[in-house]
């Protein structure tokens, strides 16, 4: 079992994951098209006085007001927790020394590794974040109103490899079983990544950066086909 989840299943799920993410990205690209940004003069009349320059003070006020009323200003805890959660979610498995040693021996490439202590801390952050999300789902009415079993399932799916990884690292319970479970749940997460709502990772970068709209963070150079 251990060898299977570590060997063939891992490679299969890794390939499925990467292929799935590429598939999602291509699909989004094909669902959208390049948007031609038409340039137009700001003032129509040559005799229109140019708008009075906005003072540095007002610009500053504007920045503060925008910030305070943005999602960061309005939900600082939520934004902070999810940022840390997402960073750790990616960084800890990718940069974990043990993972990289295995990767290196298998295909000869490796990413820079971080100290185990830091990875452990990151894992704790992920678990804490997941716990925060769970409590939020249960206790905050607006979140509870839109939470389905699927949402809990995905949260569980995301959490499991980290929980088992944490247990394995600290050698709690039966090491080999926990490790097998860790790899198995990791493989399942990899497979699930492109095909569940975790795929929002692709959508986020695509939509917020490229699709024109009020909240677009990039140039907004694309638009949906219809």
């Amino acid at each position: 079992m251990y060898d299977f989840v570590r060997g063939p299943l891992f490679w299969a799920s890794a390939i499925i994951c990467i292929a799935g993410l590429i598939y999602r990205s291509v699909k989004l690209l094909r669902l959208t098209q390049k948007k031609e940004i038409v340039l137009c003069p700001v003032t129509i009349s040559p005799k229109d006085k140019p708008a009075p320059a906005i003072s540095a003070e007002e610009r500053k006020l504007d920045r503060i007001a925008r910030f305070q009323n943005s999602v960061i200003g309005q939900h600082p805890v939520m934004v902070a927790v999810s940022t840390v959660f997402h960073v750790c979610l990616f960084a800890s498995p990718l940069l974990l020394l043990a993972h990289n040693v295995m990767l290196s021996s298998a295909i000869g490439i490796r990413l820079p590794a971080i100290p185990d202590g830091l990875a452990d801390l990151m894992t704790i952050f992920v678990l804490a974040g997941a716990f925060f999300f769970l409590i939020r789902r249960i206790a905050v009415p607006k979140v509870a109103a839109i939470s389905s079993a699927y949402d809990y399932g995905v949260l569980f799916l995301t959490l499991m490899p980290f929980l088992t990884g944490f247990l394995a690292y600290h050698q709690l319970f039966h090491y080999k079983s926990v490790l097998t479970l860790h790899i198995l749940t990791g493989d399942i997460l990899l497979i699930a990544l492109p095909f569940t709502k975790i795929g929002h990772m692709v959508f986020f970068f695509f939509s917020r950066l490229h699709i024109a709209g009020e909240y677009c963070l990039g140039r907004g150079s694309r638009t949906w086909n219809t």
Binding site: P41, I44, P46, L61
Partner: protein
């Protein structure tokens, strides 16, 4: 929809100067859609005003509340409870001129100030780009002008254009504005309907000279005073 533009902060400050407790009202209709007076703009403006008066060491308190539309009684009554309980010195409205006046009419004892300039009836060309298309003149001529409005698109509002001024296909006032009548001519020619501008269109009976009022036919019995 009605396109509006938020007034400069200094002007709004000047309007509400001296009033200590203010309600800023947003509109979920047109001004929301054109990013001028929706809930987000209410929040942002309130923050700016608060910080700005704070810096001036002027006591100032402002609440924000946004309703569906300020041009309908059933929605502006939403403000009643707030206005009654909080006893505001003044009200700011981020709706178009119609909404501002409707609020002022509902709360005649409270000064109501506009926070946006209603500019025109237009279209959403692209995100953050609006263009005028209608002057609400009350007597639509689009039928004979190929769907291009000479009242709002021609700088002179001519009914028997084009004048002698077009520079190429641009209006005489700016090369950045297409001549409406050149466009009308081209469209009608393409539709084989040039006849409709070969005839003289008589001076029109302007309907936008006094306050407009429309009562739909089925409702006439309900509202119209019998002579």
């Amino acid at each position: 929809m009605v396109i509006a533009e938020i007034k400069p902060l200094e002007e709004i400050k000047e309007l509400v100067k001296g009033y200590k407790k203010i309600l800023n009202t947003g509109c979920g209709g047109c001004t929301s859609v054109c990013l001028a007076g929706g809930q987000k703009e209410v929040d942002t403006l309130n923050t700016k005003l608060t910080l700005s008066f704070q810096a001036d060491h002027v006591p100032f308190e402002i609440d924000g509340f946004t309703v569906e539309r300020q041009c309908e009684v059933q929605f502006i009554t939403e403000f009643d409870r707030l206005v009654k309980s909080r006893k505001y010195d003044a009200i700011l409205s981020m709706a178009c001129g119609a909404g501002v006046q409707f609020l002022a009419e509902r709360y005649p004892e409270t000064p109501v100030f506009p926070a946006v300039n209603s500019t025109f009836v237009g279209v959403n060309k692209d995100i953050g780009w609006y263009e005028e298309r209608c002057k609400c003149c009350g007597d639509c001529v689009l039928g004979f002008t190929g769907g291009i409005c000479p009242v709002s698109m021609c700088a002179k509002g001519l009914f028997n254009g084009p004048c002698g001024g077009p520079q190429g296909e641009s209006c005489e006032v700016s090369k950045d504005i297409p001549c409406a009548w050149v466009a009308i001519y081209k469209r009608l020619k393409g539709q084989n309907r040039l006849e409709s501008i070969r005839t003289i269109h008589a001076p029109r009976q302007w309907r936008d000279q006094i306050q407009g009022r429309i009562i739909l036919e089925p409702y006439k019995a309900r509202y119209v005073k019998s002579e």
